[in-house]
C-alpha cells in the first residue's frame, strides 16, 4: 500500500514540475505581451532579457546579498525553533500557562512586522542582530502553534497506556509527546522558512542604509532609489530563490535527521 502511494507521488511530482514550469512560461509571455501592447519604458517594466542581463551583471552582489540575508534568516529560524519548541513544551504542560500566554502568542502573529521594525532598530541598532530579531519574531508563531498542537494531539488510548504503567509527566513528554510532535515541528519550520526570509528582507529595508550591510533588502532599497528597476526585479527573484532554498534545507535536514519520527502514516507533514 505504502509503495503504491509512493508511485503516485512520483508521477504527481512530474505533473507538478511540468505545470509549475508551464505557469512560469505563461507569465513570461504575458510579461512580454504587456511590454509590446503598452510600450512601457524600462524604468517601469524592463523586459525579461534586461532583468536577466542585470542579474548577470550584478551576479556577485546578488549572491553576496542572498548569502547575508540567508544567514540572517537561517539564524532567526533556528532561534525561533529553539524558543518556539521550548514555549510549546511549557504550553503542553499546563492549561493555565496556555490560557494566560496564548493571546500574546497570537499578538506575535497579528503585529505588523513593518510597524515594529523601526522600534527594534531604536532598541538594537542598525545591525545584523536586529535583522535576526525581526526574523525570530515573524518565524515564531507557526512553530509555537504547530508544536503545541503536536504535543497536545495524543491519542487517548496511548495516554491511557502510559498512565496504566505509571509513566509520569516527564516520561510521557519525552517518550510520547515530543516524538509525536516532531512531524508538526517540521511542518512549522517549513511554514516559517518562507516567513524568515520575508522578515529578514523587511528588516534590511530599515537597517540597510545605516550600516555596512549588503543583504537583499538593502540592495532592493538602493536599486529602487537609483531607479534600476531591472536589478530590483532580479533581486526580487533572488529573494524568492532564497526562500525556496531555505525551505529545501529544512526539508533535507528533516529527512536526514528526523526520519525516524516523520516517516510514518500519522505524519501531518506528508501533505506538504
Amino acid at each position: 500500500m505504502k509503495r503504491e502511494r509512493r508511485g503516485i507521488d512520483a508521477t504527481s511530482w512530474v505533473v507538478q514540475s511540468v505545470s509549475v514550469i508551464a505557469v512560469a512560461a505563461v507569465a513570461i509571455v504575458v510579461w512580454i505581451l504587456v511590454l509590446e501592447l503598452f510600450e512601457l519604458p524600462p524604468i517601469l517594466l524592463p523586459s525579461p532579457q534586461r532583468v536577466l542581463d542585470a542579474a548577470m551583471r550584478e551576479r556577485d552582489t546578488l549572491i553576496r546579498g542572498m548569502f547575508s540575508t540567508g544567514i540572517a534568516a537561517a539564524a532567526g529560524l533556528a532561534t525561533a525553533l529553539l524558543i518556539g519548541s521550548f514555549v510549546a513544551i511549557l504550553f503542553s504542560q499546563s492549561r493555565l500557562i496556555r490560557r494566560a500566554f496564548f493571546p500574546y502568542v497570537i499578538f506575535l502573529q497579528t503585529v505588523p512586522i513593518v510597524a515594529i521594525a523601526p522600534l527594534l532598530i531604536t532598541w538594537s541598532g542598525y545591525r545584523f542582530r536586529t535583522v535576526v530579531i525581526v526574523t525570530v519574531i515573524i518565524s515564531l508563531f507557526p512553530i509555537i502553534s504547530n508544536v503545541t498542537a503536536g504535543l497536545m494531539t495524543i491519542e487517548r488510548e496511548l495516554a491511557d497506556l502510559f498512565r496504566m504503567y505509571g509513566a509520569g509527566r516527564i516520561k510521557r513528554l519525552w517518550k510520547l509527546q515530543i516524538p509525536s510532535a516532531v512531524p508538526y515541528l517540521v511542518l512549522g519550520a517549513k511554514i516559517s522558512s518562507g516567513l524568515a526570509v520575508i522578515g529578514a528582507i523587511v528588516a534590511e529595508f530599515f537597517v540597510g542604509n545605516g550600516a555596512s550591510y549588503d543583504g537583499l533588502g538593502t540592495l532592493m532599497t538602493g536599486w529602487q532609489a537609483m531607479q534600476r528597476t531591472d536589478a530590483l526585479i532580479a533581486a526580487l527573484f533572488a529573494s524568492t530563490l532564497l526562500g525556496l532554498l531555505l525551505f529545501g534545507v529544512v526539508h533535507i535536514v528533516a529527512a536526514v535527521f528526523l526520519r525516524r519520527w516523520t516517516r510514518s502514516e500519522t505524519s501531518p507533514g506528508s501533505a506538504s
Binding site: 505504502k2 491519542e155 488510548e157 496511548l158 491511557d160 497506556l161 502510559f162 498512565r163 496504566m164 504503567y165 505509571g166 509513566a167 516520561k171 517518550k175 510520547l176 516524538p179 525516524r260 519520527w261 516517516r263 510514518s264 502514516e265 500519522t266
Partner: protein, 267 residues
C-alpha cells in the same frame, strides 16, 4: 497475510512462576460523568480468576466504561471495583488491549512490546529486549522484530499490541473489541491466538465484543450489558477445547439464541 504457524504442544511451555490470576469484583458500581450522563449503573459482578468473560451489548451500553473501571482508568462514582488478590494497574498487573493497536509509529515491534517494562523501569534494556523477543515469537511474529508498525499488516499490528499487553505478565487482561477492525479470517486466527496465550498463562480475561459467535467460542461466561446495567453472567455450556466446527452444533445454536434474545430484551 500473516498465517501464524499454529502450535500444538503448548503445555510444554507453561511457566509455573507466573503470578496467579485475579478475581474481579464489582459492588454496586456506578459511573456518572460530569455532564450527568450515566455510563454504568448498579453493576454487581464477579469475574472468576483465570476465566475468560465476554461483555456483549449494543453500542453505547457502557461496556468500554466498565472495562475502563476494571483497569483503574476511571474511578467509580459510587460502589467499588476490587481485584482479589489486591493488585494495582500501575504495577503492571492489569493490561489493556485497545480496539486499535495503538503502537508508537516510530518504534520497532520489539521496542513497542518492551514499552510497558521500560515505562515501569523494570529490567535492563537487554533483558527487556529478550522478553520482547520471546513474546513476539509467542504471538507468531518471529520475523518482525525490527519492523515498524507501518510495515506491518493490521493483523500483525494487533499481534504486537497483544504481545505488548503481556509484557508485564499481567494477572488481568482487558480487551476492548480487539478484533473489530479485522476481517473474519484474521479475527478467527487472533481469537485462537488469544486462547493459546491464555492456556499458557491463565490470566483473567475480560473481552468486549459485538460478535456473539466470537464471545461463545472464546469465553467461559458471557455478560450481556444494556443501558449501563449488566445481566447475571451466563455460563457457557460448551466444552473446551473449542474449534470452529462447534458453530454447527445444536448447543452452540441454543446458547447463541439465549444471548441474542437477552440482547433484544428492553433494558
Amino acid at each position: 497475510m500473516n498465517l501464524a504457524p499454529s502450535r500444538t504442544n503448548l503445555t510444554t511451555n507453561v511457566n509455573p512462576s507466573l503470578p496467579l490470576a485475579s478475581e474481579i469484583r464489582c459492588e454496586a458500581v456506578e459511573l456518572a460523568f460530569s455532564d450527568g450522563t450515566r455510563a454504568v449503573s448498579d453493576v454487581d459482578l464477579r469475574i472468576p480468576a483465570g476465566s475468560i468473560t465476554s461483555l456483549v451489548g449494543p453500542s453505547g451500553c457502557g461496556k468500554t466504561s466498565l472495562l475502563r473501571l476494571f483497569a483503574g482508568l476511571e474511578k467509580p462514582s459510587s460502589g467499588r471495583v476490587r481485584l482479589e488478590p489486591m493488585i494495582s494497574a500501575v504495577a503492571g498487573e492489569i493490561a489493556f488491549v485497545f480496539q486499535q493497536p495503538t503502537l508508537l509509529p516510530w518504534r520497532t515491534a520489539m521496542e513497542n512490546v518492551q514499552l510497558p517494562l521500560e515505562l515501569m523501569g523494570r529490567f535492563s534494556k537487554s533483558q527487556r529486549m529478550e522478553i520482547a523477543s520471546q513474546l513476539l515469537e509467542d504471538v507468531g511474529l518471529q520475523d518482525a522484530h525490527l519492523k515498524k508498525p507501518h510495515e506491518l499488516s493490521g493483523g500483525m499490528r494487533m499481534r504486537v499490541s497483544i504481545a505488548r499487553a503481556l509484557a508485564t505478565s499481567p494477572r488481568v487482561l482487558l480487551l476492548d473489541e480487539p478484533f473489530a477492525a479485522l476481517d473474519d479470517i484474521l479475527r478467527g486466527q487472533l481469537g485462537e491466538l488469544l486462547l493459546e496465550l491464555w492456556s499458557l498463562r491463565r490470566f483473567t480475561a475480560v473481552m468486549v465484543t459485538h460478535n456473539i459467535g466470537e464471545a461463545i467460542l472464546l469465553s467461559d461466561r458471557v455478560v450481556v450489558m444494556r443501558g449501563g446495567r449488566t445481566d447475571a453472567p451466563r455460563v457457557n455450556p460448551l466444552p473446551r477445547p473449542r474449534t470452529d466446527a462447534l458453530r454447527r452444533t445444536v448447543a452452540f445454536g441454543e446458547f447463541y439464541g439465549v444471548i441474542s434474545d437477552a440482547l433484544r430484551e428492553p433494558s
